[in-house]
Symmetry: C2
Subunit: 244 residues, 2 copies
Amino acid sequence: MTETLPPPSFRPLYEQIKILITQSLVAGEWKPGEAIPSEVELAARFRVSQGTVRKAIDELASEHILVRRQGKGTYVASHSEPSYQYRFLRVMPDSGEKLHPHSVLVDVRKGRASAEIARALAIKAASPVHVILRVLEFRGRPLILDEMVLAASRFPGLTVPKLEEYKGSMYSFYEAVYGLRMIRAEERIRAVAADAGAAAHLRVVPGTPLLCVDRIAFTYGDMPVEWRRGLCVTDGFSYFNELA
Amino acid sequence: MTETLPPPSFRPLYEQIKILITQSLVAGEWKPGEAIPSEVELAARFRVSQGTVRKAIDELASEHILVRRQGKGTYVASHSEPSYQYRFLRVMPDSGEKLHPHSVLVDVRKGRASAEIARALAIKAASPVHVILRVLEFRGRPLILDEMVLAASRFPGLTVPKLEEYKGSMYSFYEAVYGLRMIRAEERIRAVAADAGAAAHLRVVPGTPLLCVDRIAFTYGDMPVEWRRGLCVTDGFSYFNELA
DNA sequence: GAGTGGTCTAGACCACCCC
DNA sequence: GGGTGGTCTAGACCACTCT
């Protein structure tokens, strides 16, 4: 889906400003949740007009990388903020009720990347990885069985106790502990029959149709960080998507 | 998902321009595929600066309602154009190959709206509707069994021969024949087991897990026009979604 | 070359937030 | 009241398309 385009013959100034701002974000000059300098300050710093900075920030805001707050300033988006907590979770109760799931760790172990996962994470096949299994529960009912795979090199010293502290959201964990902010993800969804293991974790009978959601999540610069497979019960719940 | 907000205390000019442009689109002043007047013309017509018209058009373009073409003009987006033909079809071969499905009509009949469908289409329960059944094939292999429900009042004189002409895309049909351009849709996805009927049409064994994709599609002003349920085989195919 | 959208600037003023 | 983002304007110049 992501394509490498031919070198553009022309490079608008505001795109270069976007790149400079992104570089400061990658370098950690401004951390998630913090305010970046005001538009006038940035305009002075980059020696361009405020309008040009505005256009750059507008685009970064539309990509959910920055957040504008009128009268206050412009902030670095963060998965730790309530409104961003479940930004990538598209499964919802059919009732329309808000979903506030509870995460239960099942297993954390070390392993080696399969060919498929190595390709997805842009690492060498058989590289060491962390594999995390967990169940998302809603009102005490198991809803999603997630398997997450992370390159060990990016997540040194990942341990169960550390993970337990952040049971709410994986991405606020990556962000707070490893400085990796996830900005977008690709999902591929299929229908599968529950095998014995999944059925046990999700408390359904084997063979029950489940959604199988494969996800690759990316940080700044389209660097893949996480491969994930979620098996999801859709009795009373569904995956919501808006086509625009 | 769509909420009615409290009356805004303040109404930017460019939003009013957006509304005026949208009204011209609804009224059919500019038809799908045609060019709208240039920015300077619109600025003169609405007595605002070109910059304000630009901002209005920018937003309409980001909503895929208009399409800008540098050096040529701004056009009304149309499902008849190749790049928009399958804009709302998210099912793709895992191979990465481009999907060019072929539509086969199964049945077209009249019926009455169930409570659920009446709610979705914002019509009275038991209102007369058209029900269309069709199969989407890919390389001769049945992939999706679609059931579409339309308010009869919006689609007078809908007949099989008329439909046959447009087997490629339903939405270019709605657009060309009824002047209804679909601009967005909401989908809810679940996993289900194929029943006997679906299994026969999709040539799978009954019980095979399928994606069940319920869709409501909207035209200008968030007016619901079509209710659709698609049953989809996901062997070699998956539903692709980008989370941004 | 004429016409279109696209970029960039500079400045004025407005709405919102907080001290 | 002072700072922030948000709107609106006017004008210059650039890139692209077609004739």
